[in-house]
């Protein structure tokens, strides 16, 4: 499940604060749409609501920053960048290793893993 490509609709069911939380948790660039119509693309690494003026902080696409943007200046946040946390590299790796081991085992006629499964299984 990834939020990549999501353009939230800010409404009674989804507040800007909710969207900021999603964006803070997102491991990719987002596009922050500001009230004056301008946009800034970057990685949101921080947000703070426990201050008189809640804000987000980001590094832009060039890596410049950090830029601090108050919540009051933000209209929406679009999840435009690639989600770098998405994917299943572990599964792909394990599947490949399993195939290699199975092949080796078939060739040599030994157990599937050739390793000690331990008392709880391997």
């Amino acid at each position: 499940m990834t939020l990549e490509g999501w353009v939230p609709q800010i409404n009674e069911y989804m507040s800007l604060s909710d969207v900021v939380e999603f964006a803070f948790d997102y491991r990719g660039n987002t596009t922050v749409v500001k009230g004056d119509g301008s946009e800034i693309v970057g990685y949101i690494f921080n947000r703070n609501v426990d201050t008189p003026e809640p804000f987000i902080q980001l590094f832009d696409e060039q890596g410049d920053g950090p830029f601090t943007i108050p919540y009051r200046d933000i209209v929406n946040i679009k999840f435009t960048g690639k989600d770098t946390a998405a994917g299943n590299s572990w599964k792909a790796w394990v599947e490949r290793k399993e195939k290699e081991r199975a092949l080796r085992a078939a060739e040599s006629g030994v157990d599937r893993l050739g390793r000690d499964p331990g008392p709880h299984g391997g």
């Binding site: 590094f59 832009d60 994917g87 590299s89 572990w90 299984g121």
Partner: protein, 338 residues
Amino acid sequence: MSVPVSQMVTVAGYIIRQKLNGRKRYPLVLMLEPLFRCNLACAGCGKIQYPAQILKKHLTVEQCLKAVDECGAPIVSIPGGEPLMYPDIDKLVQALVKRKKYIYLCTNAILLEEKLHLFSPSKYLTFSVHMDGLREDHDEAVCRDGVFDEAVGGIKAALARGFRVTTNTTLFDGASPLRMRQFFDEMMNLGVEGMMLSPGYSYSKAPDQEHFLRQARTNQLFHEMLSKASRRWKFNQSPLFLRFLMGKQDFECTPWGNPTFNMFGWQRPCYLLQEGYAASFQELMDTTPWENYGKKSGNEKCRDCMVHCGYEATAVDYTFSSLKGLAETVAVTLTGKL
């Protein structure tokens, strides 16, 4: 235990000073992340999932040293990312040695042999090499074949030139106690000063979510692995922390014990959870709602965590908080019986 006496004395003196000053929360190890870039993409790691512009960035040496001075911890651990990819790693280490900080440079050792000429052996500098088990287990954990052999090559080269070298091992579900015991023997045969162990933590951003250890399994695994420990095995960490992992000791988390600084600032509340950043160390200490973290808090994210960065500082603090704690530590250290 394999921590050198001078390091033990420094740490003990530091903790006693904190206690005499009535400081309830104090840092023991600064986790300094100068960059997130790495030459591996391990499935259990949640540290490197960032957009390209973030991975290209790194802290300046000045930013690193400012954090070190702000924090004041006697030990500085440099993880990452891969710290040997940090372009100013030699300057940073030199400056830290000058400050008499005990440095654990946590590396996968792929670049170690190539970069050794940048460093001089010192009692303050330890290469802490990431080794997650025997060859096949390690290569699987780091998702690349051949890394175990490269790391062994790096360890041998560093030891030959007189550097302090330890290993750090993260254990995931499915680890075999028997194979880990063989691994400990192999590392001691290599001649490392000591080994550091920790169960993995389930980073929400790590690709592998299925192999992290839950508390009962952690206790079982460490009990099977460390019961009747060989006298040859040396661990470069608190023996009470190892007893905690074995289920023989009960501790609460001290997330402020290993504060983390990186290009985003001071990470709340700990090395593993990323719930926001403070602009200064003081702000981190003063404004983080510490009561919301640790097992007693009921925080779901902390429920199964038994990781060194939360509990090793607790174990060390316990040692110096009472005669009982000190006696227990001395007894385990002298007998070697965990």
